[in-house]
Symmetry: C2
């Protein structure tokens, strides 16, 4: 599916709602999630060929963004749609419905934006995927 | 101090060392840390004026990158210096010595790089700080 158009609603526990104050002045956030449906089986996940594709190199979990990882924490950089009392709406959050959110951080280009390069295999995988 | 020149060494538990395979093909990583020296006191930290400065607005923790937050997880985007057997060297990791690393993810511009804007107060704070 096309995640790019999905608006997700993050609802805070009431005691944390005041923590959103001022977030509407930022354009983007990092959302940290607990990947609660992921598993960790070192035999299967410590090293694997991305998407089980034979034309992909054997790759360690720390060189992949796969969700089956030792500490099941996801990090997603998303655009803010709306901040209301205790609720944050964001665009294109790559998480299944009901995923627990464990932190919200404002996206700060000085900390978060990098001119980074990726391997050829990942470029190829993303070209096929998107 | 000038973090920009510091090379940090992340040493994996031996059982996770194979998980680094292929990481040397990326230029940057996201390092997730347990901010083990941070505290969480809602009275003090849920909303505060950044750096306790009177000229900063009262701001919620989810609109700040301060380490005193409900789930003490740090996310830092850093350049890879070297990947060796079970050890990763990175540049300018903003973490005190001994900080536990809980995940390493390859930095992928498609997921992580955003043209984001920040509030005037943060621009002002960073100008004074760096």
């Amino acid at each position: 599916m096309n995640w790019g158009q999905v608006v997700s609603e993050i609802v805070l526990e009431p005691e944390y709602a005041p923590g959103l104050q001022g977030l509407e002045e930022f354009s983007h956030v990092l959302v940290l999630t607990h990947l609660h449906q992921a598993e960790w089986d070192p035999e299967k996940h410590l090293r694997r060929r991305p998407q089980e594709r034979g034309d992909m190199p054997l790759t360690g979990i720390f060189a992949q963004r796969a969700r089956h990882r030792p500490n099941r924490i996801g990090v997603t950089a998303v655009e803010i749609v709306e901040v209301t009392d205790g609720t944050l709406k964001v665009l294109a959050l790559d998480a299944v419905d009901g995923t627990p959110v464990i932190d919200i951080k404002p996206y700060v280009p000085y900390y978060d934006r990098r001119d980074a390069t990726i391997p050829e295999w990942m470029t190829r995988m993303m070209r096929d995927y998107f």
